[in-house]
Symmetry: C2
Subunit: 239 residues, 2 copies
């Protein structure tokens, strides 16, 4: 199916829970995805795994997959726009959750706008947004910091500066960490934040084991043995 | 249905498009909502309109609705927790989009955590997140400011300070405005931001008329007559 006005770039969320093949799309969006021939994906293997569960109209080997990850350069991404310019619709998928938020897909969306290509985002799970909703912390003003520094000294400095920022701007501060480093971050938070600062931890969001808890640091100190290791986690704080 | 371990507070997204009765919930979440007897809602009329389309298991007049809006005080909200403490599940609905983000529902979620009540957020549309995805701007770091000041002079000061913040922190700045004031905000942005600053405008998100465009200010100046008046809009900028 081509479109004389140019193709549409659809932003297609995938499951956050990597073990789940369950669709996270609304029915009307599933119908659109089933008709697509062109995909740009962060990881070809997980994208095929996810799409195969949607029962696409064509066998998966007849579809076109391009990989857009951290190492993809701008010239390559420009080539991914060619089907759109020719009038074909393209689906952009991230490795987890919503594309173009905290992943390299945003570069393709930016180029689409520069080429007057229509962009339509589909509703889907974002661990950042779900954690914010369920935290009970300020949702009127908030800031997402991405990853904290990996060096312990730098990380502690950043944690203290984030706590001050929250107080000064009356906002919720949100950040993530690679799962194997969560326990270190948790310990640094407990040891360095003020007793009254509220900390929310969102673990394994959307999975069977999901757990989203908000306590002040004084209360978290009673749970210092809580195991966060290797579990996907979103951290939120408000002081 | 009661639960000996205490009820669960479900955060139930609703349509952003106020004219649409279409469900924005995944099938598995619709099933949960159909079984609920207790709801806490920002606006009873729109919540009933939305829920009636889900074909609930009971007539809508047999369900319990409490209103939680800007004027609801903490003592009243504590009363809304009683069914949860007794073991009944409760659904929290905002007027539009995801509850507890940029609306008063967060107060109830905070009290739920203080009372060790389990909170489960459901996936749904957030105009903030959808606009960010589709903007092509930085999704690795971003900040949501809520509403800008209504006074023109204050607003312009804020716009300039936000632009500097974006440059300094390499982050996307996101804000919203009441629809009748959009045109003024748009004009202030065009007149006061630097030519190279990128501005994304997300109009009527999720509706038939959705339009999400990112251009630099130099290019927006050629579209100064664009009509944003009375259309729900999210603004995003990156300098």
């Amino acid at each position: 199916m081509t479109n004389k006005e140019g193709g549409i770039l659809y932003l297609i969320p995938v499951s956050i829970d990597q073990n789940s093949k369950e669709s996270v799309l609304l029915e009307k969006h599933q119908k659109i995805v089933k008709d697509l021939d062109y995909f740009v994906v962060e990881n070809a293997k997980t994208a095929r795994f996810y799409l195969s569960a949607l029962k696409l109209h064509k066998p998966i080997h007849q579809l076109n997959f391009e990989v857009l990850d951290k190492s993809t350069n701008e010239e390559e991404i420009k080539n991914f726009l060619i089907p759109l310019i020719k009038g074909f619709n393209v689906g952009l998928l991230s490795e987890s959750g919503c594309p173009a938020v905290a992943d390299p897909g945003a570069k393709m969306v930016a180029l689409a706008h520069q080429n007057n290509i229509k962009v339509i985002p589909m509703t889907g799970p974002s661990s950042i947004l779900l954690a914010l909703m369920a935290s009970g912390l300020n949702g009127q003003q908030f800031k997402f910091h991405g990853y904290l520094p990996s060096d312990k000294e730098e990380r502690i400095k950043k944690i203290i500066s984030i706590e001050n920022e929250s107080k000064k701007n009356n906002e919720t501060e949100i950040f993530i960490e690679t799962p194997y480093r969560n326990q270190h971050v948790f310990n640094d938070l407990i040891e360095n934040l003020k007793e009254q600062t509220k900390l929310c931890i969102g673990l394994d969001i959307t999975s069977q084991n999901e757990l989203i808890l908000t306590k002040n640091i004084g209360d978290w100190k009673k749970e210092i043995t809580r195991d966060l290791k290797n579990k996907p986690c979103v951290f939120l704080l408000q002081s």
